[in-house]
Amino acid sequence: MKVKVISRSVDEFTRERSQDLQRVFRNYDPNLRTQEKAVEYVRALNAVKLDKIFARPFIGAMDGHIDGVSCMAKNPTQLKWIFSGAMDGDIRLWDIASRRTVCQFPGHQGAVRGLTVSTDGRMLVSCGTDCTVRLWNTSVDNLMELGHSTKNSVEPASVHVGKNAFLAVDHQWDGELFATAGAQVDIWNHNRSEPINSFQWGTDSVISVRFNPGEPNLLVASASDRGIMLYDLRMATPVTKMIMMTKTNSIAWNPMEPINFTAANEDGNCYSYDARKLDEAKCVHTDHVSAVMDIDYSPTGREFVTGSYDRTVRLFHYNSGHSREIYHTKRMQRVFCVKFSGDGSYVISGSDDTNLRLWKAKASEQLGVVLPRERKKHEYHAAIKKRYMHLPEVKRIARHRHLPKPIYKAAALMRAMADARKRKQERRKAHSAPGSITTQPLRRRRIIKEVE
């Protein structure tokens, strides 16, 4: 006879001294954990509810401007600094951590319409409706010195005067050129007072311009004739032009996939395009109920933020049709500019009510030092939410957002209009000769033509 019986001595399973850690034993046998799916579901449900409870995205407002904020620029070398320009010609540098003005850059007579910082962070370029382009020296030593002295305003390093008002400016990612948009696209050098090159296509003014982060010589611009143009600095003429039904207010390249860019359109949608194939959008991001004014990509390239004329800021996943998050406050007016912070964890919006607002990119994220156990728990919650996100109850709670009444109503109205259009189109199709009417997908519908 061979016999063995389970025997456990207490010493083996408990700690010797009170300073010791408790011993932990694992057995992953599914039979020991009954109804684990139901338990996981309940946990997922609790996790989404907790997300809702902890969703407090608004961190604070930065006030100081005396007119609407029109443009912003982030300093690529300094995580906590952001420049903002206002409609009254005031330019300020903000410290995001303390939410205070570090210094001011006085000089512009009219509205500041464009701000950009060189990649090394030493030069700030601003342009405005007073037909001037101003260059400011913003090296860290220079500004730190200023912070200690009582006088906190900076003199421009140089001022260039143009013929027409400027509407936008962007600096090359790898080089010392920058481009301004106005009556035409001008390419400038830091050291020259005249543009070294200028491009023109049509007579309408150019609204926005943006250099490609991967290919330094490529830039995209949008004009008020509803066109989006691609320029190559090595060529004398523009590369491509595509005309949409409504004009594009702003454009942002995806920093991780620099062939793709997203255009913030006047019709309330954002259109993601592949720069090589402009006859069809890769994705249409709908949800805003009014013109989208500005757009900025997260440095991760996975999501982007948009600010709209409907007084809201929305966050989109780079390939999803609807927004992941909507931010609004009672006091926030028309949003003219938005920026993702350099580490992708904050969003800054500048609006007509003279304030810059700081938001968390993930509404329910825990700020401050997260202990390892907490982090593990957050990760577990994220995984379990992802696993059960398609279940109706979990989805409902996760999707639910409180909307301001005007936006809720406008969204309902727009939905009704879209439905009516769709119904009409279907009926028209049903009552005409087969094949005579084709329905274009939304990705293509808003594009009028592509010109080479």
């Binding site: 016999v3 109804q35 799916k37 139901a38 059960y388």
Partner: protein, 536 residues
């Protein structure tokens, strides 16, 4: 030289077979952790979704593999066993013989507590197996710490006690007494009197849902949420008085055995039983569920013990014998007790074919009322008319416990933490269903085409309905019998019409298809002029 080469060849041949064995063993282990087969994505048209799902399946596979590989390190304890040598039979081995072979620590688990005045005794273990609650019929309640065999508390309630059950941890237990169910804490203080249950005969606690289930003298089944005190369900079984009740640990469905030979299964959200099956030709005397939830054992008064497959609701095996009480151990041993005799059955081959494993007879005259395997130990506790006893059943318990599931060596701090966690994960009563893995899956809306018979039946029913309608009396001249017949026929034709049209459409489709396929076949030249002309 040749021989050496041959040897080498043999060695190289043998090696992979050893590897094969190891991988087979690993596969078996992996299967345990996979929790069912992977879904097939053959019919899926969405390529993006297909990719996402296949990636996820791969992750599950990897997780199962990692768990199987980690078993070696995480679960070092081997389970107990009893093996006969030569002509020995395992069921002839007495407890005394086992006592000689095992260590001193295990000897403490073989004892008889004789309390002749207050019996018969019923008992219950906490989920970790550390504590045992005992209840004597004459009002004796007690809690025993099983590791050092300390009596933590005993009280005398001076009232009939029919059943005791632990709630979520050892701090609280419930007792079914003469008129009502009472909740006590570890110090013996009465916390609640649960009047709604009435004179309960049997209690069960659903620990994931914090529900206390009871069946009372009048055959009423009550569910009470013990966190909020709310009665979740109150159902009349309508099948008479019974004290045969057991929770299926796999899906928290309560099984009741009735005097008519039926077994019913209940959930707190429906007033009708989920399942009603005739198991025996006489009254059902005992009921037990296997921990994996796929196997049920029932005992009938007509001297049969049956094992049922709960996935198909079919009997797997019928054994002869009485049993007043049945219990499955964590490793799937089945203990049956009748009179003063205990028999333990084992599934040796792993094919759910139970055979005799061990037997134990107690002193003559002891009436066994309750058998309970102690979780995570090779111990069977017996509650009988003269007190309670404990015997060793090697191979009964799970050798490796999980600290986060049930820890026999739990400190009070760990217990407090676990209480909070389990309350956070408390399941709503709606999650009790026959197949709990259904949660989180999609309800398929796809409906198959009705069969020919079904369609004919539908048509017939419609025609009958049309015939049955009474015609209104019309004005003179329009009310003639001939007109009436005509109208009725018209109505019938009208009803039949959509079905006929559907049929014609389908036939057309089929013939169209046939033509399409037929077009490509080259006809002999003489027949080609009859072929359908292609429209240009």
């Amino acid at each position: 030289m040749d021989e050496a080469q041959d040897n080498h060849a043999i060695i190289t041949k043998k090696k992979p077979s050893a590897n094969q064995d190891i991988s087979d063993e690993l596969d078996l282990k992996i299967k345990k952790y996979l929790r069912g087969e992977a879904a097939s994505f053959e019919d899926l048209k969405d390529r993006k979704l297909k990719r996402q799902l296949s990636v996820r399946e791969e992750l599950y596979g990897n997780a199962a593999k990692a768990a199987a590989k980690a078993e070696k390190w995480l679960m070092p304890n081997e389970g107990g066993y009893l093996e006969a040598e030569g002509i020995e039979k395992t069921w002839r081995i007495k407890q005394e013989a086992i006592a000689k072979e095992v260590g001193l620590v295990n000897l403490r688990n073989q004892y008889d507590i004789v309390l002749p005045d207050l019996g018969p005794y019923t008992l219950d273990f906490t989920s970790s197996g550390r504590y045992m609650a005992v209840g004597g019929r004459k009002g004796h309640l007690g809690i025993v710490d099983m590791i050092n065999l300390n009596l933590i508390k005993e009280i005398q309630v001076a009232e009939t006690v029919r059943d005791v059950v632990f709630l979520h941890n050892e701090l609280f237990f419930a007792a079914a007494q003469k008129k009502f169910v009472y909740m006590y804490n570890r110090d013996g203080t009465e916390i609640r009197c649960l009047r709604e249950h009435g004179a309960a005969l049997k209690l069960q606690f659903l620990k994931n849902h914090f529900l206390l289930a009871s069946v009372n003298k009048f055959g009423q089944l009550h569910y009470q949420d013990i966190t909020m005190g709310e009665i979740v369900g109150n159902f009349r079984t309508g099948l008479g008085r019974t004290n045969v009740m057991q929770v299926n640990p796999f899906n928290a469905v309560v099984g009741l055995g009735h005097a008519g030979g039926t077994v019913t299964m209940w959930k707190p959200t429906s007033s009708a039983p989920l399942v009603k099956m005739l198991c025996h030709h006489g009254p059902v005397s005992a009921l037990a569920f296997h921990p994996n939830g796929h196997l049920m054992a029932t005992a009938g008064k007509e001297k049969r013990i049956k094992l049922w497959d709960l996935r198909k609701f079919e009997p797997l095996q019928t054994l002869t014998g009485h049993a007043n009480t049945l219990d499955f151990s964590q490793k799937g041993l089945l203990a049956c007790g009748v009179g003063s005799f205990v028999q333990v059955l084992n599934d040796v081959s792993g094919t759910q074919n139970y055979s005799k494993y061990m037997t134990h007879s107690m002193a003559k005259g002891y009436q066994i009322g309750r058998l309970a395997f102690r979780p995570y130990e090779d111990v069977l506790a017996i509650g009988h008319s003269m007190g309670w006893s404990s015997i060793l059943i090697p191979g009964a318990g799970e050798p490796n416990f999980d600290t986060w599931v049930a820890n026999p060596f739990e400190t009070s701090k760990q217990r407090r933490e676990k209480e909070v966690r389990s309350l956070l994960d408390k399941l709503p009563p709606e999650t009790i269903m026959l197949d709990p893995s259904k949660i989180g899956t999609v309800k398929s809306t796809y409906r198959e085409k009705p069969t020919k018979q079904e369609r004919e039946a539908e048509v017939e029913a419609a025609v009958e309905a049309a015939k049955g309608t009474k015609l209104k009396n019309k004005t003179k001249g329009r009310n003639k019998p001939g007109k009436k017949i005509q109208k009725k026929q018209d109505a019938i034709a009208r009803v039949k019409r959509p079905y006929l049209e559907e049929k014609i459409n389908e036939e057309q489709k089929i013939s169209h298809k046939k033509q399409k396929t037929g077009e490509n076949i080259d006809l002999p030249k003489s027949l080609q002029r009859f072929a359908r002309k292609k429209s240009s």
